[in-house]
């Protein structure tokens, strides 16, 4: 996958500014940066939830950004996405939520009447089982805790049989224990299924612990792209701004450290507006 000159402007504001990078082999990539740096917009453009202003995303000589209609939806299924707010259907039960991962390609009539075959249900249960929440399969999604809901979302992503997984702040709304479970699950997708996982993170130590590669963004531009061990304090200061007297523990969700206050939701929404 090769991203070239990817740009998104909202009016006068440039959210993502001529970003270019490539992914040659399956790896777990963490995208870090202060809020408003354009991390979410970048991921949403890859999934085609947001249309790019300029640039290209090429996979095997096919430009993802040019797809439309059926082909675009097929691509969206191939690149599963996980959200900070889980984005499940709260009133549906867990197993149906996981089955939603296969709506693409499901016939309209079958979708209208909620008809899913035995093999699909089994597959959904297997995905839930893998994430350790098969027991809650028949509960409504809204009755689950945040961590459980995020694992349902991951099961839904697995159900999509994706070629890559995008995760937009998957642990920002979770308590540290749940966050660890979710990150482990994502890492396992990288190791066991050998898929690329592109994950927006707001905590440096999570990026260090779980990622093979870290991309740092500032004001829409990539300012760092290397292995986590190269993240020196000076680089970190460059990314998060010098005026903020940065202490690593401030941006940590490790269980021992103080609990991080999640990046306010309104900023993420503002970036989408």
């Amino acid at each position: 996958m090769k991203i070239t000159d990817l740009t998104k402007t909202f009016g006068k504001i440039t959210a993502v500014d001529a970003v270019s990078f490539s992914i040659d082999q399956p790896q777990m990539i963490g995208v870090i940066g202060p809020s408003g740096a354009g991390k979410s917009t970048l991921l949403r453009m890859i999934n085609r939830l947001t249309d790019a202003t300029r640039g290209s995303i090429r996979i095997n000589d096919r430009d993802i950004l040019q797809l439309s209609g059926r082909e675009k939806r097929r691509w969206q299924r191939d690149c599963a996405m996980i959200f900070q707010q889980f984005n499940l259907v709260p009133r549906l039960n867990v197993v149906t939520n996981v089955l939603m991962g296969r709506l693409n390609g499901h016939s309209t009539l079958k979708s209208l009447f909620c008809i899913f075959g035995r093999h699909l249900v089994d597959e959904a249960l297997a995905a839930l089982d893998r994430l350790g929440i098969a027991d809650q399969a028949l509960q409504r999604a809204e009755t689950l805790s945040g961590g459980q809901q995020q694992r349902v979302a991951i099961a839904r992503a697995l159900m999509q049989q994706p070629k890559m997984v995008l995760a937009d702040e998957p642990i920002a709304s979770l308590d540290p224990l749940s966050a660890e479970k979710v990150m482990t699950a994502l890492r396992e997708i990288r190791d066991r299924d050998n898929l690329t996982v592109l994950c927006n993170l707001h905590t440096l130590d999570t990026a260090r612990t779980y990622c093979d590669r870290v991309i740092g963004m500032l004001q829409g531009c990539i300012v760092f792209d290397d292995v986590p061990s190269k993240l020196t304090p000076s680089v970190v200061r460059d990314i998060y701004g010098a005026e903020q007297e940065l202490n690593e523990s401030m941006t940590s969700t490790s269980i021992s450290g103080p609990v991080f206050t999640p990046e306010p939701l309104r900023i993420r929404k503002a970036a989408l507006a």
Binding site: F113, C114, R118, V121, L125, L138, Q139, S145
Partner: protein, 452 residues
């Protein structure tokens, strides 16, 4: 968090994927069963309504007729065979709208009359013989003999489907705006013109022939058509008393409908509010009283507007008062119930705050309760007012009068469709204007309240 939700809704023991699958399947089966039952019910109603029979019996040509008559008018050229054999030309065949001298498209000579229907269509009327000239077909001869009506088409022409020729009657309508009918008693030619005839001034009025420009200058002219009044007053009175369109009666009918809705709604709101206080648990401790008032609301609502209307029409006769009272009685129940629910939802703290200042009972309501209840009161009242304009037309049709009754009567005579169309337009305009005004007022009042 997890444990508390588990306590409310314990997870079902999952013995295997089969159980889950059956639950998913059951859900889809229930959706399908629901859809199926709904479709079945609709089928049943359509069968019980005898839909197929109805469609076969329907008269779509009536819709065409109504649509044509609604936007156009026709002039009849009639020749009676028996009795006086003269030719009469009249708008819609009305005696009051007969031309003294024939219009330009009719020429009358001693032995024949020629009616020019435009675009090459032409009718020549002899004593008992009609020649209908039709483009692309040629002349069609129709003779009235003792044996009946004899129709002769040009050689080699098959009778088209818009032509009906029997010994009893000849009826040809080659286009929607041209029609020739011949029976043993008379010959009748219709020519249609766009627009409503004599909408402003009646046919007989001396004002009927003027153009808008002429009328405008005439209005300010000193030369009086009628020595008793100024020209503009003459115009206004002639328009107002136009017998065909009945502008005065229509206006009064609209006013009546409007009055029914406004008076009925305001009365219901003003009577409903104090009763609502008596029905609200946090204002009226006496349970028996509360129960009685609530049953009164149920009673007023349950009787239904239809029955109230019928009772009031019997007692009060035709008129807006009847409609207003029928609306007032029904909606006192509806609004009273809504208000009492709103009262039970008012914020206790605000009331207690006013109470603590040592306010007397009246002040307590004025400052502690009214400000909270006003938005609900006003918006619900306006909302009911909108609905009641529609209700008032229906109550009118039941016999209370107003525009509804006028409409029903106009439709029942099945003649002046342009009048029906005009009344429909006016009714819808009234409803839409009321909707818009009340919508504006509602948003204004509610936003105005939250703004201050």
């Amino acid at each position: 968090m997890t444990s508390s939700t588990l306590a409310i809704q314990p997870p079902e023991p999952i013995t295997g994927s089969t159980a889950v699958f059956f639950r998913v399947r059951r859900e889809s089966l229930m959706i399908m069963a629901g859809t199926g039952l709904t479709v079945l019910y609709l089928l049943y109603t359509f069968i019980s309504f005898d839909l197929w029979h109805l469609i076969s019996r329907s008269q779509p040509q009536r819709a065409v007729m109504l649509a044509t008559d609604a936007v156009a008018h026709k002039v009849h050229v009639t020749k009676n065979i028996r009795g006086a054999g003269g030719l009469s030309i009249a708008v819609e065949g009305e005696r009051t709208a007969t031309y003294e001298t024939p219009p330009g498209w009719v020429t009358v000579s001693d032995d024949m009359s020629r009616v020019d229907l435009g675009r090459g269509y032409q009718v020549d009327i002899y004593d008992t013989h009609v020649v209908f000239q039709i483009p692309d077909i040629g002349p069609v001869h129709v003779r009235i003999t003792d044996a009946g009506i004899e129709t002769t088409l040009p050689r080699g022409v098959d009778p088209p489907d818009w032509l009906r020729a029997t010994p009893a009657k000849f009826d040809a309508r080659p286009t929607i705006g041209r029609r020739v009918q011949v029976s043993k008693a008379r010959i009748e030619v219709h020519r249609y013109f766009m627009g409503w005839e004599n909408f402003f001034f009646p046919f007989r009025s001396e004002l009927a022939g003027y153009s808008p420009g002429q009328l405008f200058s005439l209005a300010f002219s000193d030369h009086r058509l009628d020595p008793d009044m100024a020209n503009w007053r003459l115009m206004a009175t002639t328009f107002w008393n136009n017998p065909g369109w009945q502008h005065k009666q229509v206006f009064v009918a609209l006013l009546e409908t409007f009055l029914m809705a406004v008076l009925g709604t305001i009365t219901a709101a003003l009577v409903g509010l104090p009763l609502a206080v008596l029905a609200a648990a946090n204002f009226t401790p006496a349970q028996a009283l509360r129960f009685a008032v609530r049953r009164l609301f149920d009673f007023l609502r349950g009787i239904d507007m239809l029955i109230w209307s019928l009772i009031f029409i019997r007692a009060f006769g035709l008129g807006p008062l009847t409609g207003a009272l029928a609306i007032a009685f029904t909606d006192t129940g509806s609004l009273g119930k809504l208000f009492s629910e709103a009262l039970e939802g008012v914020n206790r703290k605000q009331m207690e705050g006013v109470h603590a200042t040592g306010a007397n009972r009246l002040q307590f309501y004025r400052f502690g309760v009214i400000p909270q209840i006003i938005p609900v009161f006003v918006s619900q009242t306006l909302y009911y007012l909108e609905a009641n304009v529609r209700s008032a037309t229906i109550i009118g049709a039941l016999g209370a009068g107003g525009i509804g009754l006028m409409l029903v009567e106009a439709m029942n005579t099945q003649r002046h469709w342009e009048n029906v169309f005009y009344l429909i337009l006016l009714t819808i305009s009234l409803v839409m204007v009321m909707d818009t005004v009340s919508g504006k007022l509602r948003s204004r009042l509610i936003h105005g309240r939250s703004g201050t």
